[in-house]
Symmetry: C2
Subunit: 192 residues, 2 copies
DNA sequence: ACCCGAATGTGATGTACATCACGTAATCAA
DNA sequence: TTGATTACGTGATGTACATCACATTCGGGT
């Protein structure tokens, strides 16, 4: 299925758009391809776009003291990603986003998002719901962080996204869980 | 300043509403007063409303194994609070919300929010931005959780909300930071 | 004023995890 | 193929924090 159709079905779940409205909506997106390892947003730079993933897998991460990496999000197909803090506040990126695998995305500029939101009530509706889902997911992850130990979070992650296990290296999973790669290794080798 | 005016100024920061539009918007809110200790949303019950805080301080928390409490949010004046997961998905509450001090709030039902969002494009716009701010705050807190140690998070919390120090008991601050009250006590007594 | 429960301080001990250190296996590029 | 880089496994050791235990102080209700 091509990019346009994937986005259309994604939107249709929460907003009712006529074909003409969707065509107008879609006209603001720019398709883009990236190779494994390529950087999409890099820390310290300006951020103008957000990204809708068509295929592949990206990671959004933060590096502390030039040493430790923390992964905020794995972005899989039909997920949205960006440095939203920087994007909305027009500040420099504090995180980096790059590609774990080759990837295709659709780019939408901050300006165009606001433009179509003001033009199309249903677009505004869609973005409200999308942000809401993100908010709930973030709250849930925060709670999981406080409440569960590392093993529970590891198993939670794998039941939620089983494809990650074979797709991404273990040290990235550790960086998502917020533990050292050594600890993660011991964890899942111990209990078999 | 009365509740209506507080809400009006709060909305005006992100959405342009005429006086008539705001009056219509406001007509869906029900004022409500609570005493210190009163429960607003309790775990396991249905959730129909979200709450805009006019005065006082509430806490949204989760209790694990009937033992440990984790505070998801302190809700201060002009903040919104609810169990949004339960509210949007029409499921039972997984968290409890109660009052740390006497409090006044404005209640808005889920149904009415969706109604005014579909009636008024600017209302939809407002709620998109509000949710967005919540999402960013949640992301930031998650990052802080992974990145900083307990003392850094403690100091971060107090510079962000200095009023909390005298307003809420220390064990609640510990429950927000995700550490035991003993550890928190030792932390700020040690470094003076 | 008085009492009782809640909030707070502080020591002793256990534990999950980080960190350091080193070795092996897998992957990739010339 | 081969060398180099990256991923992964595993032991030894240190540390931040939880937990338990108990003492003290504070604050609200009768």
């Amino acid at each position: 299925m091509e990019a346009k159709e994937i986005l259309k079905q994604h939107i249709a779940k929460t907003a009712k758009l006529s074909d003409e409205q969707f065509d107008h909506f879609f006209s603001h997106f720019k398709p883009q391809s990236y190779k494994k390892g390529q950087v999409v947003i890099s820390e310290g730079q300006k951020v103008d776009h957000e990204y809708f993933v068509i295929s592949g897998c990206l990671k959004a991460f933060f590096i502390n003291d030039e040493i430790k990496m923390y992964i905020l999000q794995f972005a899989m197909p039909t997920w949205w990603t960006s440095d939203y803090g920087a994007l909305y506040n027009q500040t420099r990126a504090t995180i980096t986003i790059d590609c774990i695998t080759d990837a295709e995305v659709l780019c939408l500029s901050n300006h165009d998002r606001e433009k179509i939101c003001s033009e199309l009530h249903q677009a505004e509706h869609f973005f409200r719901w999308r942000t809401n889902r993100g908010y709930l997911a973030s709250q849930k992850r925060l709670l999981s962080f406080m409440n569960n130990d590392t093993r529970a979070r590891y198993e939670e992650l794998l039941t939620l996204y089983p494809e990650l296990y074979n797709l991404v290296p273990k040290h990235l999973i550790a960086a998502y869980l917020g533990v050292s790669r050594e600890t993660l290794s011991r964890l899942y080798n111990a209990h078999k």
